[in-house]
């Protein structure tokens, strides 16, 4: 025990937030983590300089508002217009959440089933690739034609955008078979189902989380894009409306909301990964 204490200590020291990245994908290499007071101060100072500098430059060079309004006006517009934007945010969230839930569930089930049968995987692979590479936005006019201007076409588009992303990543995860770990489970008499839940699923979890995150972000893109194509509500609709009315501070306020949504999606999955998949350093 004593001779092992040193490497143990050394490794425990490494747990300063850098080695808890969800996967070794660069997207996760640096994420939100515990920061010291000094780091926080530096981040605030840089933010003040960037935003303040932008504000100053836009006003100093008298850049017209329809090109780029200064940050203060965007912030005011966000505050002032938010009661009017909020319902649209709600619509977008409903589309995103329901479409993503459908797409993620179907994607996960397909990935789990298909990877159990390599032959079936070969057959469906081209179609999945087709779904992944086709921008689902292209189908929105058709979906609107068929399902009207309500939620349905957008939810379908979001599900079609998110599902394949979830599936393709989850399948990569499920394919990572570690025969020694499966042999371990089998040596205790594990059933196929037990091997799936206790070995394959946890091994796939980091990739599943990556898939869910990418799927959610693609879902957000598709939801907003679908709202821009047609219909009278949603954040995408606000974007087209404000830009057609040259209400640029309001337009950028909506863009800001979308950025925040995207960041929230990232942070959410980062935290889930930190909690449940931090074993994969």
């Amino acid at each position: 025990m004593s001779s092992d204490a040193i490497p143990e200590f050394h490794k425990a020291k490494a747990g300063d937030g850098r080695d808890v990245s969800l996967t070794n994908l660069s997207a996760f290499s640096g994420g939100p983590g515990v920061k010291s007071g000094r780091e926080v101060a530096a981040i605030v100072v840089v933010a003040v300089i960037v935003i303040g500098g932008l504000e100053f430059a836009l006003r100093f060079f008298e850049v017209p508002q329809y090109i780029m309004p200064p940050p203060s006006l965007i912030a005011w517009a966000l505050f002032d217009e938010f009661p009017l934007i909020a319902p649209h945010l709600g619509y977008t969230l409903v589309e995103l959440l329901s479409g993503f839930a459908i797409g993620a569930v179907v994607g996960l089930i397909l990935a789990a089933v298909v990877t159990q049968f390599p032959f079936a995987e070969k057959i469906v692979a081209p179609y999945i690739l087709l779904l992944v590479t086709t921008p689902m936005l292209a189908l929105v006019p058709l979906l609107i034609l068929r399902f009207g201007f309500g939620y349905t076409p957008r939810i379908i588009a979001v599900a079609l955008a998110a599902g394949p992303m979830v599936m393709i990543n989850a399948a990569t995860g499920f394919r990572r078979v570690d025969s020694a770990k499966i042999a371990l489970a089998r040596s205790y008499g594990a059933s196929t189902l037990q091997i799936f839940w206790k070995i394959r699923a946890p091994m796939a979890l980091p990739m599943i989380l990556v898939g869910l995150m990418i799927g959610a972000i693609f879902g957000l893109l598709t939801a907003v894009g679908a709202e821009m194509v047609g219909g009278g509500f949603g954040l995408g609709n606000r974007l087209t409306t404000y830009s057609s009315m040259i209400q640029m501070p309001q337009f950028f306020a909506v863009v800001l909301i979308l950025s925040i949504l995207g960041i929230l999606i990232y942070v959410l999955f980062f935290l889930i990964g930190k909690k449940w998949a931090s074993w994969e350093a």
């Binding site: 092992d4 490497p7 143990e8 020694a180 042999a183 371990l184």
Partner: protein
């Protein structure tokens, strides 16, 4: 091969033959390999790389079927994973997403049984992992991981423990320490142990008997009793007897290789 003939051996391997059907043709890994292990005996199996040591052990565990022949536990054929047979893998093979406690709990989850907490606590204490239950494998050194794996295997109180080059990835000091630990545990609560290794020293230090397999296809080429009293100290490793025994085994293995020049390169791999 007379050992254990007087009564039913604890573990018997009878005419074990294993053919792997690979893309490049059939591969005979084991050829009528026969050996017996008495109850509470520690037997090591050594042999040149790719001679079928691991195949033999996995067949004993019931994880791999044989093409011909049979494995007998207490005289009854083993046809699949058996609760009386514990397995310790190459590297620790812990589940990285579970902490140490959850890793040790894993076999009981699979079996739907209640773990014997007192026994596990005793084992953890015995291997010096007391208080590490909340640690994840990546936070433990290689030696600690392998100790946890031994606790996991022993937690089910198997009457036969099969160890597949368990300390091959460890540095030589840690390996010596682990060898002493295995002996201590065995002196505490004797079990039948079959130990696969490519270290002749390790085999001699641990075993009552060392079995040398021939190059592929594996079959028992020779066996040597190791008569030193227990507990053994590292000092015995420096004695003349151990030196001679080590050399004899080495010559068996190397000599066996030299006699098979005609093998195709593909067969020497792995």
């Amino acid at each position: 091969m007379n050992t254990g003939d007087a009564k039913t051996p604890k573990l018997g391997v009878r005419e074990a033959t294993k053919i792997y059907h690979t893309a490049s043709g059939d591969l005979l890994a084991l050829d009528r390999c026969t050996l017996h292990v008495a109850a509470n005996e520690i037997v090591s199996v050594v042999g040149p790389s790719g001679c079928g040591k691991t195949t033999l052990l996995w067949s004993m565990s019931g994880l791999h079927g044989l093409s011909d022949g049979e494995i007998l536990l207490d005289g009854k054929p083993v046809t699949g994973p058996h609760p009386d047979i514990g397995l310790v893998f190459q590297e620790a093979n812990l589940l990285p997403w579970r902490n140490l406690d959850a890793n040790i709990n894993f076999p009981f989850e699979i079996k739907g049984e209640k773990p014997d907490r007192a026994w596990i606590a005793h084992l953890l204490d015995r291997v010096g992992l007391d208080g590490f239950g909340g640690k994840f494998p990546r936070e433990l050194s290689g030696g600690m991981q392998q100790r946890a794996a031994i606790v996991r295997a022993l937690s089910l109180k198997p009457s036969v423990l099969l160890m597949d080059e368990p300390f091959g990835a460890l540095d030589s000091f840690t390996r010596d320490e682990m060898n002493r630990l295995v002996e201590e545990i065995w002196l505490d609560a004797p079990t039948t142990i079959v130990f696969i290794t490519h270290s002749i020293e390790e085999a001699i230090f641990l075993s009552d008997r060392v079995i040398v397999l021939s190059p592929r296809p594996g079959r028992v080429a020779k066996e040597y009793p190791v008569p030193f009293p227990r507990p053994r100290s590292m000092e015995i490793m420096a004695t003349r007897e151990v030196f001679d025994l080590t050399n004899a085994i080495k010559m068996d293995i190397v000599g066996g290789r030299a006699g098979t020049k005609a093998r195709r390169p593909a067969e020497t791999a792995a």
